[in-house]
Symmetry: C2
Subunit: 109 residues, 2 copies
Amino acid sequence: MTESGNMFSHIPPDLPAELFETLAHKGTVRIERILSHGQATPEGEWYDQDRDEWVLLLAGSAGLLFDGEPELRRLTAGDYLMIPARRRHRVAWTAPNETTIWLAVYIDG
Amino acid sequence: MTESGNMFSHIPPDLPAELFETLAHKGTVRIERILSHGQATPEGEWYDQDRDEWVLLLAGSAGLLFDGEPELRRLTAGDYLMIPARRRHRVAWTAPNETTIWLAVYIDG
């Protein structure tokens, strides 16, 4: 864990899998950087988390689907949203030709 | 408070004072957007907070001084750092010619 840094630094040229890095961890809160490069949640699978997640997309783009919503939400740089605990969702796609940089703030209930 | 949005949207053309907006609030955590345009902490004053603050600069630039450190830390887009509770600090300057956009995550101890 680093106490300071830059969200756009140390981007690996190849990302065969998504990369999760903890930037800060205090009490019930963990802040992560997530790097994606074309990855998506496996078909038919959902995230179903027991904690709230606030997410901000900093670079790239992604399609986020919430269970029960008819349409994907397309996220681009600067877009943020709260994903409440137990709200089933999946990442349908991330940009195939660039690195998508996420900031995630996980908040234990 | 909004559950979703974009960090770069709704930037007022004039900012006579810094603008603080709560983006999310869950349990002990509050996430804010702060907009600055040339403002700084008044000379001789320090922030001395009773909670941790994780801060990320998204646009613009700023000079942050920690009490006891000889030099300012210059922050530009993407720079983040943890400001622990009780760590005295001040914003020495923010860019005078553009809007500086901060994300702040406040974590109660």
